[in-house]
């Protein structure tokens, strides 16, 4: 059995990128995503042993909920996105295209924030590369339910995005 510190370091190294990735998927902001990831790990460290079997599922769930919570509470989103989000688009397309990408991201995140917590979490966890089993463990539902949840959540998100663009 590893010591508490060794176990936490091993857990951190194996899960940090994924936890930050989930937060980034929600927030579309790498700096804020790292903030969330660190907050999640700090809270985990205070509450639980890194040797716990449920550690990855706990971290994934907390990353999704914490990031979604920030998204919902965000008031200065548009300003920040225009100032940041130096993503894949920035390096390859012109400024006009970048503005469009940022506007699209803003609309999509606003739509995501309007979804109920669990459908929103299903979407971002799956989009972050978690398997059906991992998404199920993170959200406390059976793997067999994930397909249905994803289907409903995707339809709901598309509807919300359409609603957002027509407003």
């Amino acid at each position: 059995m590893k010591s508490r510190d060794e176990a936490f370091e091993a857990l951190f190294k194996s899960e940090y990128a994924r936890v930050a990735g989930i937060a980034n998927r929600v927030l579309a902001d790498s700096h804020e995503a790292e903030d969330v990831a660190q907050e999640v790990f700090i809270n985990f460290h205070r509450l639980h042993s890194a040797n716990a079997q449920f550690a990855p599922a706990w971290l994934h769930r907390a990353a999704a909920h914490t990031a979604l919570n920030r998204l919902r509470g965000r008031r200065r989103r548009e300003k920040r996105e225009l100032a940041q989000a130096p993503g894949e688009a920035e390096r390859t397309v012109d400024p006009q295209r970048m503005l469009e990408v940022n506007e699209d991201r803003r609309l999509v995140r606003a739509a995501l924030a309007r979804l109920a917590p669990k459908p929103a979490a299903v979407l971002v966890l799956r989009a972050s590369g978690l398997s059906y089993a991992e998404v199920g463990q993170a959200l406390g539902v059976g793997t067999g339910q994930i397909g249905t949840m994803l289907r409903r959540a995707e339809a709901a998100l598309r509807k919300e995005v359409t609603r957002g663009t027509s407003l």
Binding site: A52, V108, G140, G147
Partner: protein, 368 residues
């Protein structure tokens, strides 16, 4: 054969090999399922594009240093309900022990009278150190069950009512969409325990802390406190069955999304010592922090107040109104965990991995 479910078709988009042979044969011959699949695949591809995110460039080593250097202060949102993870069970045991001890602390008058019949609730801040010291309740005496608690899983609300001596199972009128409507009922008849205070054991416990035992009030050694709990009904929402997948492990057991509990208020009676003597004595024992002692002493009417221990490092609490009576709410609106406890004749608890707003709406909507 029935058409393929939405879930099956959606899974097929991610993993075409996940279809069973019979599902595949149906799909090949069914234009309706093919059309539904096409629509779902379109949505799935569109959402994947919509959720594209900017690239992350991570420095994991620096991030680890920052996390390790974080002060052990109260976290911004940190609250983990004990029911939500196996690792939290020691804390839950600590909380339970704290609740029992605090109940004992604030009860006991001369004669055999009901000394503690809570009619309201009040939060008491406790630290992990308090919980650790309180979890060794057996150090201060002996707890003997004269009627052992016999909790049982039952099939329906009516069965739960029968087990719990006719207590009505609370019914929800509001459930958030994120909470499954699948309910598992558990019920427990009344149970009764006698806690006999043992001065020798208390002295040993004090010796372990390296601090002397305070002077014993006359008659406290051998004092008996009778604690009656229940009957109680617990409703657990969520699919608790273990995953049937081939690689299932204990990690696959689903955690409850919501728990609703109703219990008769506990009643404590005593034969020998006064409430004030007992309270003063226990609160002066080594291991009980001055903060906890002063918080308990600050309660105006301890014989009618159920104290809710709130671990200050992990949870925030607030006073709320539920169905017109005072209650204590724990947690926040992150959706990670929240709870509310109130007394309206019986003790009621609503707790789960939902926001505090939802917990309060569920509580308000309960029909009892």
């Amino acid at each position: 054969m029935a058409h393929l479910s939405d879930g099956t078709l959606r899974r097929m988009f991610d993993d075409p090999d996940a279809l069973t042979g019979s599902d595949r044969r149906h799909y090949v011959d069914c234009a309706g399922c093919q059309a539904r699949y096409s629509g779902m695949a379109d949505d799935a591809r569109a959402v994947a594009t919509l959720l594209a995110a900017p690239e992350l460039r991570l420095d994991v080593a620096s991030a680890l240093k920052r996390v390790e250097a974080a002060p052990a202060a109260k976290p911004r949102f940190g609250f983990s309900l004990p029911i939500l993870s196996p690792a939290s069970r020691p804390m839950f045991a600590g909380l339970a022990a704290a609740a029992v001890l605090v109940a004992l602390v604030v009860t006991a008058f001369a004669e055999i009278l009901p000394l503690f019949q809570p009619k309201t609730v009040e939060p008491v801040p406790v630290t992990v150190a308090d919980l650790e010291s309180l979890s060794a309740l057996s150090d201060y005496g002996t707890l003997t069950w004269t009627e052992k608690p016999t909790p049982q899983i039952v099939l329906s609300a009516a069965d739960a009512q029968n087990v719990a001596a006719g207590m009505h199972a609370p019914a929800v009128t509001y459930l958030p969409s994120t909470v499954s409507s699948t309910v598992t009922y558990a019920a427990m008849p009344k149970a009764e325990a006698v806690f006999t205070f043992d001065a020798a054991k208390a002295a040993d416990a004090a010796a372990k802390t390296g601090k002397p035992l305070p002077t014993l009030p006359a008659g406290i050694d051998g004092a008996k406190l009778t604690v009656k709990v229940g009957p109680a009904i617990i409703e657990v929402f969520g699919n608790l069955k273990q995953s049937s997948s081939a690689n299932a492990s204990s990690n696959d057991i689903n955690l409850p999304q919501l728990v609703i509990a109703r219990s008769s208020a506990p009643v404590v009676s005593s034969t020998q010592v006064s409430a004030q003597e007992l309270e003063n004595y226990i609160l002066s024992l080594p291991g009980i922090s001055p903060g906890l002692a002063s918080a308990v002493r600050a309660i105006k009417d301890p014989s009618t107040t159920l104290l809710v221990p709130v671990p200050v490092e992990y949870a925030s609490s607030s006073k709320v109104k539920v169905k017109g009576v005072d209650g204590v709410a724990l947690g926040d609106n992150t959706g990670l965990g929240a709870a509310v406890i109130w007394i309206n004749g019986d003790v009621f608890v609503v707790a789960g991995s939902v926001s505090q707003i939802d917990v309060l709406k569920i509580a308000e909507g309960l029909t009892v």
